[in-house]
Symmetry: C3
Subunit: 115 residues, 3 copies
C-alpha cells in the first residue's frame, strides 16, 4: 500500500494518502489578523483545499482534533465549525486548549478523511 | 470502504467505523461532580458503550489519547485506567495536560479500536 | 486483521501493528538531564527503535504529534527534527504545547507509520 505525499513543506508533509485515508497536517489560518471565528473559517477553507488535493472532501471526514489557544473561545470556534460542517459527514472530534506554535494562532485543526 | 456514522451529535459524530477500525470522539464523564478517579471510570464506561455500538470492545484497542485538566492527577487517572484496561489488549497511549471544553471536566479520552 | 502488540508496558502498549500500520505510544527521552534539543534527539532515536521493532522505518511515517513543554522551544525542537527527518518520508505533523507526565520532560512525540 503506497504512501502518496501530495504536498511537502520544509519539515513535514501537508497532506498524504495511504490505504484509502487522507491525512492532513495540523492546519492554521494564513491570515492571523482575524479573531478565532475568522481564523477557524480560514483554517477550514484550507482543510477543504487539502482534502481536494487528496481526492476527497469534508463529507468523508473521519477524525478531527481542534486545539484552541483559549478554550473560552470554544463557542466562537463552533459557530464557524457549525456553518462549515456537512451534517451527513461529521467526523469524531476532540477539542482541547493548547498554546500553538505561533503567538497569533487562535486555532489549529488536524483531520483525517476517507478517500 | 464505507463509513458508518453510528451516532451523531449536534456537531460531530460520537462513533464511526471505516475499514475495520472504530473511531470514537473525545469522551468525558456525564457526571461531573466526581473527582478525576470517578470521572475516568465514567469516561471509560462510556468508551465501553461506544466500542460496543461499533461492534468491538476494549480488547481490540489500538490508540488512546488522554487529556488531563491537571497533569498532577496522572496517578489518580491511572488508578482507574489500571482497573479497567485489559492487559492483553492495551493500546498505545499518550497522556498530556490540557484545559478542556467544560470547566468541571478533569479528563477526556479519545480512542480507536480494531473491529 | 490481527493486532500485534509488540511491546507492552505496565499499562499501555509501546508499539503495535494492525492492517499495515505501526502505532507507537507517545515517546519521551530516557535521559531527562538534557535540554529540549537533546531530549528530541533521544526521543527520535527511540522512535527509530520502535519503528524497527514494527518492521518499518522513518521513511514510511504517516503522522506525528509533537507536544512541547514550552512552545518557545519550537525552533530548538525543530533543529533536532530537521537533522533526523527523511525529506522523502515526512509525515503530516502537528505541534502544540502541553505539560507532560513528568516534570522534566521537554518533549513527547507520537507517530504512526506504514509498514
Amino acid at each position: 500500500m503506497a504512501i502518496e505525499r501530495l504536498e511537502n513543506g520544509p519539515r513535514f508533509c501537508r497532506v498524504l494518502t495511504h490505504n484509502g485515508i487522507a491525512y492532513l497536517a495540523g492546519m492554521t489560518a494564513d491570515d492571523l489578523s482575524g479573531d478565532v471565528v475568522q481564523q477557524t473559517k480560514d483554517t477550514l477553507a484550507k482543510v477543504d483545499r487539502y482534502l481536494r488535493i487528496a481526492g476527497t472532501d469534508k463529507s468523508k471526514l473521519l477524525t478531527a482534533v481542534v486545539w484552541l489557544r483559549d478554550i473560552a473561545e470554544f463557542d466562537k470556534m463552533n459557530s464557524a465549525w457549525d456553518e462549515w460542517i456537512d451534517r451527513d459527514g461529521m467526523p469524531v472530534r476532540a477539542t482541547v486548549e493548547a498554546r500553538l506554535a505561533g503567538d497569533l494562532y487562535r486555532v489549529e485543526i488536524m483531520v483525517t478523511a476517507a478517500i
